[in-house]
Symmetry: C2
DNA sequence: TCCCCTTTCGTAACTTTATTAAGTATTGTG
DNA sequence: CACAATACTTAATAAAGTTACGAAAGGGGA
């Protein structure tokens, strides 16, 4: 069946959680036979599963009695783990097996301190892999910090994890699990995760604060993408008057001010002492409020974010990460500064909210997107692997000889 | 025929200029019958025309002799004017009739000083309309400054042309020409025009300097668009340390520094005199070089542009407008500052170039896009007009009852 | 000049995809 | 137990694209 409709159906089901074929057809504006055929196909592939159990039908809020034959409810398969999810963090690496249908929060099954070399890292992964159930996974999904070429599967730059730049991360992982590997840039995973939990949010800029500062953009329900692997690099926008050296090689990047390290450094500079721990700084800030050095930092941050909003034409900002740990006055200051700098605020309302990180949900969304219903042949995710799992699993369903011209 | 293929063919022909059906089929990767059918359809609609004249075949640079039956060359219709183009400028309004196939530079047939009210403006237009040949135009294309909702056809905000905010510009124009009216935000027209003349440029940020500062983005050959009408508003990004009041109501917008007026103001402030004319300032700058006040302004501009590049993942900047009047040292300073602030410059090359404005070409591109091969039913361009020209001209070619689900 | 070669372009038949229409299945209600 | 309402399936149809093939149009050599 047509790729586009298959994608649309799967995305919709991901948002709805549970739905019947008729629900899907209605909400997608396609005919019932089409939805039915696609659903059947995906059921056979093991992407979907049918819920036969006597459901209490939680999704009937109206007092109206439900007439007619009840629909056979579908949802993304939750019984068989299909993916291995991997978070390659600067300080910690986390591993989990995931089903297609995840709706809960991040919940990692295995963790270890990220070692300083590729060999040690693969070694630790190997140990974990041997303890995992020997299922036939469809792929490994890796959340990677830094500048990542998602499609090519390469890490271009990672100031805090330099060894990832030199190695072929995909091949490394494939030595452990011989299945397709999908690298997902960290902030992109977070944006996809947020979108999964807030399907009604169709346009937003997600800004994540942590060891660095990164952003990711969703426009019309679609992750903004580009030929260049660089995208959403808010952290490396220069700040006028700032001269701190950044890991990227430039001077004055925003990241040097508003990363956890940058904030601690500024705090120490303002109070003449050594850099405190994050927790101690939070405590002190709770008492002293938004001090001048912090206000300056937040203003610089707001200018960069407001600039992004003005250029992109987006009115929703989602903030994740360390900044939401700080006293509420900090986010309040930042929000009001962003509104001041955003031209849309003169006509309408700018929404700014904080949210937890939903990394696994985002990884699964990326995995489904790249492995289960790939958009086209442009996707070399199945590099070095005999066959892409979902597509070739079913015989007589080979890819067409020629690419669909409408997609070119 | 499928909208997408029709669009693709027309866009390609726009880029190629002249091509045979076979050329188009080959370069689009579609089959010859399909290309042939679409071409025939568009010929009947009067969108294309066939060149029968003994062509000297300018597009055969290779020494290879041309074998086989020569193709019947097609191009966009250049014999019948289909559009009325209108440039609503702050100081001047320009009018011209245009054919579908324009490749030359802006060349306005009529001009008049933009009056201060809607009534006077329509009156002047009426006078010009009566002098134009009484052809059956397919639409009026209007280049509008300010913040414009292209699709809804409304001007939301225009600091230098306030009367346009209150009136329904489309209805106003339709009183003169009773055909569909397409409003195109100025910078978007310029970006489309640049793209028309540089088909190989698939990703770029066009920044236009003039009375204000605006930008427009092309990603993967497509004008970046969004639900919000605001987009590319570089001029209203705040600059840290700048406190000048802006026409938009905020303080410290970039526009207050780097618009023609802002530059003159800074020049006067630096030299303690009255504001000179633009030409005199250019002369003086040619002698004195990039003075500190100008360097500061350019640095602020570069930060905003570099920020946009980092966020958008674009590596090409096209600068149009007043800044290219200034001594070359100015653009040199700006370019190097942009490179310094752009993260992509650490991996690859950032291209920065100046270009003239190609407004009419952009307007025609927008007109074709909106009126000749509309993407879907979402486009209410034909507001208040009995029938869209290109689509309903041909009987038996009504729009399908249901929208293509693949496009939803 | 005739014939062969190459390329263009149009027509016919087939494939894919999604649609409408009609039929069957499963429930609650009177 | 008929009846209404909804869900799902099957069959026929339409649209848009494909491959396959043949006619048209030019150049070059005998």
């Amino acid at each position: 069946m047509g790729r586009l409709n298959r994608r649309a159906l799967l995305t919709r089901l991901q948002h709805l959680g549970v739905a019947s074929r008729a629900d899907l057809a209605k909400s997608l504006g396609m005919s019932q036979p089409t939805a039915g055929k696609i659903a059947e196909e995906l059921l056979e592939l093991g992407v979907l599963e049918e819920i036969d159990g006597a459901e209490p039908t939680p999704a009937s809020p109206k007092g109206r009695v439900k007439l007619g034959r009840p629909g056979r409810l579908l949802r993304l398969n939750r019984t068989v783990p299909r993916f291995v999810a991997l978070q390659l963090g600067v300080s910690e690496t986390c591993v989990s097996t995931l089903c297609l249908g995840v709706s809960f929060s991040d919940n990692w099954q295995h963790r270890f301190k990220t070692p300083g070399s590729a060999e040690l890292w693969t070694h630790r992964l190997q140990a974990i892999a041997s303890r995992l159930p020997p299922a036939a996974y469809w792929g490994v999904l890796v959340s990677v910090p830094g500048i990542v070429d998602d499609l090519a599967g390469r890490v271009l730059f990672s100031p805090n994890l330099h060894w990832t730049e030199k190695v072929d991360l995909c091949r490394l992982v494939q030595e452990v699990w011989a299945v397709p590997v999908v690298l997902v840039q960290e902030e992109r995973a977070l944006a996809l995760g947020y979108q999964h939990l807030h399907p009604q949010a169709r346009d937003f800029l997600l800004v994540d604060f942590g060891e660095g500062v990164g952003a990711s953009l969703v426009v019309s329900g679609q992750l903004y993408d580009n030929l260049l692997p660089i995208c959403g690099e808010l952290g490396h926008v220069p700040v006028l008057g700032n001269e701190r050296p950044c890991g990227c090689g430039a001077l004055g990047c925003l990241e040097t001010l508003v990363s956890t390290r940058g904030l601690l450094q500024s705090f120490a500079a303002a109070h003449g002492g050594l850099a405190p721990t994050w927790e101690i700084m939070i405590e002190k800030l709770a008492i002293r409020g938004v001090e001048p050095w912090l206000a300056t930092t937040l203003d610089a941050t707001s200018v960069v974010i407001a600039g992004a909003l003005n250029v992109l034409g987006v009115r929703t900002v989602v903030v994740t990460g360390s900044l939401s740990d700080l006293p509420t006055a900090v986010m309040a200051h930042l929000s009001s500064a962003i509104r001041k700098g955003s031209i849309y605020a003169r006509f309408g309302q700018i929404d700014i909210e904080t949210a937890p990180r939903h990394r696994t949900a985002g990884l699964v969304a990326a995995g489904i997107d790249r492995l289960v219903v790939p958009m086209s042949n442009r996707d070399p995710a199945a590099r070095g692997v005999p066959s892409s799992p979902a597509c070739d699993r079913h015989p007589g369903h080979s890819t067409p000889k020629r690419s669909v011209p409408a997609n070119s």
